[in-house]
Subunit: 191 residues, 2 copies
């Protein structure tokens, strides 16, 4: 029960932080939306909002990393795998009226220059995603480690920026063009 | 004098919003940092924080659009122009300890699903930047309109995402790799 309450608070906070950002989400709002007693928040997160923020970043980051593995992992053709991950992101944006985007980008920009423990948590998550993309391109695509990592960095940069542009413009076009760019670059690396 | 006060408030708010985001910046903080009387805020921005936010987005957006024109515009070789704009962004990140980044990205993600007037202001700014990149690639590079616009969208997506990754990782690498990607794509379009 206690563990279930903690996970419910975390999942609720993931959605609130994604939608309203870290600064824009109040602790009261989290417990109300999670239908949890206020005391349970400080029981499970004695470090307060900062601890909650860090656990939200790490849990949401792990979930999104698993999403990449399960979507791209269906394809031995790494060009198709990368392409389908971007197409899935574009579909999710459209289906959610441009709400369902990177779960940590808003928080990452908010904390980059203002909260070092949370910045480090976002850095860990981005590194883990880059490791996942790199391993996929290396193992399934036979692309050497260094080139695979470069493709991962430029591909993830394209996707993160496309989330910013697609949400602001309410258009899937930036995500689809960033995906075509990333797929082309992977194709070229296959030689 | 009144106009100068308004511009000083705007310039101060641009820096505060860039650093703390829209939600994380209070009106009191803005007038204090701008050394302006509190009443002047509502005199110049009768629409309150939302009006201030909109004017901040539009002014910062116009300034950054001019920066692209003045940096890339020095080069008739559009590959070099695009490359130098990314290198300048990487240099600015390093020199400012990763604070000096896109002036509207944090606000754009905060408001995308929560404040429609401000989302529209960020959309206008991104469109104006895409128009600027497209015109540069078309006029200086002789690239046809449609291809130039595609390059602008994927290039700007790469840059916006690289701001997220470079700030979180405190490394210029994502910005430099996104720049190499964008320059390669422009080079390929020149045929």
């Amino acid at each position: 029960m206690a563990a279930a309450t903690k996970e419910r608070i975390l999942d609720t906070a993931i959605e609130l932080f994604r939608r309203h950002g870290y600064t824009g989400t109040g602790m009261k709002q989290v417990v109300q939306a999670a239908a949890a007693p206020f005391g349970s928040l400080y029981h499970h997160f004695p470090g307060g909002k900062e601890q909650l923020g860090e656990e939200v970043i790490r849990k949401a980051g792990a979930m999104y990393g698993e999403l990449f593995a399960s979507v791209a992992g269906q394809f031995d053709d790494v060009v198709e795998g990368i392409d389908m991950f971007f197409k899935g992101a574009a579909d999710a944006l459209v289906a959610s009226d441009y709400e369902d985007a990177c779960p940590i980008a808003t928080v990452a920009l908010e904390v980059a220059s203002t909260n070092e423990p949370l910045r480090l948590a976002t850095a860990d998550v981005f590194q883990s995603w880059l490791d996942g993309w790199t391993a996929y391109l290396r193992v399934r695509g036979g692309i050497d480690e260094e080139r695979a990592r470069t493709l991962a960095v430029e591909g993830l940069a394209g996707m993160e920026g496309a989330f910013v542009l697609s949400r602001a413009l309410k258009s899937p076009e930036p995500m689809l063009l960033a995906g075509a760019n990333a797929a082309d670059r992977v194709r070229a690396a296959l030689g």
